[in-house]
Symmetry: C2
Subunit: 471 residues, 2 copies
Amino acid sequence: MDNNADKKNLTESHIEQFKKICGEQNVITNEEELNDYAHDQTESLHFLPGVVLKVRSAEEISEVLKICNQDKIPVTPRGAGTGLSGGALPDLGGVLISTERMNSILEIDEQNLQVITEPGVITEVLQDSVKERGLFYPPDPASRGSCFIGGNISENSGGPKAVKYGVVKDYVLNLEVVLPTGEIMWTGANVLKNSTGYNLTQLIVGSEGTLAIVTKIVLRLIPNPKFDLLMLVPFKDVSKASEAVSAIFRAGYTPSALELMEIDALKIVSDFVGSSPVPVTDETVAHLIVEVDGNHLDTLMLEMEAISEVLMQYDCGEIYFADDNAQKNELWKLRRRVAEAVKMDGYTIEEDTVVPRYQLPALIQGVKKLGVEYGFKSVCYGHAGDGNLHIRIKKEGTANSQDDPEIIKSLRALFMLVKDLGGTVSGEHGIGLVQKSFMDIVFTEKQIDLMRGIKKVFDPNNILNAGKIFD
Amino acid sequence: MDNNADKKNLTESHIEQFKKICGEQNVITNEEELNDYAHDQTESLHFLPGVVLKVRSAEEISEVLKICNQDKIPVTPRGAGTGLSGGALPDLGGVLISTERMNSILEIDEQNLQVITEPGVITEVLQDSVKERGLFYPPDPASRGSCFIGGNISENSGGPKAVKYGVVKDYVLNLEVVLPTGEIMWTGANVLKNSTGYNLTQLIVGSEGTLAIVTKIVLRLIPNPKFDLLMLVPFKDVSKASEAVSAIFRAGYTPSALELMEIDALKIVSDFVGSSPVPVTDETVAHLIVEVDGNHLDTLMLEMEAISEVLMQYDCGEIYFADDNAQKNELWKLRRRVAEAVKMDGYTIEEDTVVPRYQLPALIQGVKKLGVEYGFKSVCYGHAGDGNLHIRIKKEGTANSQDDPEIIKSLRALFMLVKDLGGTVSGEHGIGLVQKSFMDIVFTEKQIDLMRGIKKVFDPNNILNAGKIFD
């Protein structure tokens, strides 16, 4: 597909039109402020947009997109800019549409256990709001305190609860979107089951803002579980730890979180946040974090006990049970901030590998072997229960994986390994800009062509987030 | 989109080629046998295919599709023919591809809790096979004893367990498909989380065999819950019964089944199967069937008690608890066979309405009002917990809803009501042939155009199940 969009098409006359549509104060053109929208959490990438529009409604977006579509101006939709694959970066310049002002929770429907929200609501704010009504929206990426729910839809985010409760796609019932050609439409209906035509809702979820801009989101909610229990389990052998993960499910238990953290990651984040709630023995190489939740505390205690017995068969060390909410929060803080901490420690971007759960030991062993071969250090952590392992690498003398052919070579080898193990490139971060050069590892040209064809159906002039996911 | 396919394109020379590909005994051309493939469970529709091919592999399908694509011969894929919307009917003649011989469960992967299966496996056989290993595949349409898992994928089937466990789409991880142009490809990876490109897997699920023919299916499994409890709850007021449905969830409980059955349906099916396990008082107008499941019997007892208390606030009658497996099976038999029974009693095809759960009372009241207005009797039953209500109507002197303009008019009024209540045309049966004339009620022309565009990307010559879902 030709990239028809061209940043040079953006003129002063367009800016004037946008001011009329969005209000003068919501059209940003000065470089200092534009700089705030030039990066996300994907390493050191920096692309200045031509203009930023802080839109307030689907109607405004529609008017803007009609102009951009007609004049072939590239458009980048953006949430909070917490993405890890560059999906919200305006690498072609042009118009950046920020949803930050579309930040209202429109309705918490307690009768139907649904919430209707705008895309610019912070995920944690949404979660807290429904929790006040006894309701639960489970998907919670590590960045939930700052990311927007709209961005979560675009990337099909997951987080630690996904192992029991599923990812974003499992909660989205219906979306109001604006098509690149300007039409405003809903993708489905606010119902729990739907076999009426192609599933446009699921097609938009995870499409990284390349098919449409999401302006309203209908999510199903579930009753909030009353209790949870948390434990931290040390292992001397990371393979044993990841074998134990699979064994827990085979024994018939589904934890509400099942995370793995290598000891280097734990040490770095403990230093970073100035807290180390657990004594760590010298021989510990990794921990599992295991949480169960439900409405009956007695049952949860029994489940924790049974899971502990499984874990002990895999040579775990002394299990640390979080006694109260303070201890639980302390542990979760470590897990949530590990990405930030290891990044500060010089590790490159977070790879988002995902394999069938039982292949975790092979994946971790493979990563270490590649480290020897290509001369990098690695830390692994992530959602072991889902087989979704985040891997960061560090190589002396290279700050940025994007610019280093050696690192790119080693990442390619990593993704080949992931593919060989039955896995794929991204479990919850998306492809965006930075992973698209690895798409050929997991997809044939025919598969990519189908995606390109779908893109063209939605966006004939290729103006919306062009060049993300695939060229 | 023009329908380029033409049944007249099928020649003797094609039949000879198909015999070489599939083996002579697997190419059916005699009218008596063709008749077996001319209908499904959708009323009295009857369309004879030009030829039936009992294929055995993706490779055979690929060769057949290449020929049909080149010569623009219509192709209809077919599972067990238990569909309720005509999706597997060869209304354009041409080639019917039956997956009945592709009936192997290829691998039950106990390490990763996944099963890989061919499409022609009977759903109940699949469920029983994984259950033997302590694993659970929840989606179970009423026809599970005869329907194929491949058909379930095509229609995104649900069933009673969906209220807690979700529908087919929530279990499909990856699909091997043959495109109408003959390419064989996988849609994703065998992983629990996937944000790598557009979700082609979810696009195929529920696409009713119009985009590709599914040849291998990877499903995730969960640990089999050890216990379940079941109760039957009578109500004097159907609105109260359906209000109670919503209240159960608001009270914090998620039953593993929550079904509603109007008394007429119960009486008809009791007569039909020659069993009435529960005494029915004269004032009863509907029952709820409530099931909970889990690993701890004590907890389930507590939950049943708590749910009973909620139900009593909605004026239920005396609750009947199923004491043992025999009683549970008896009750489930009634529920599962109700469709068959009311059909024999002269009711027309099963409408598959779905609304937000709390709108159930309004939907049922509306149906009865329409019955007065249009002069039909109705029975309602279905998956109340999901807001998915099956409605069958009976009008003296009309046997077939397809041919009766008055019935079509009343169905249109019904779907307008469903739309007004925030619902849609099909929750789990699909659109196929018989519901497509109602698509304009819930979709705009633009939405249908997007679907047509997607269809064209997959099937440029419009050979595969052309004219299903939309014209």
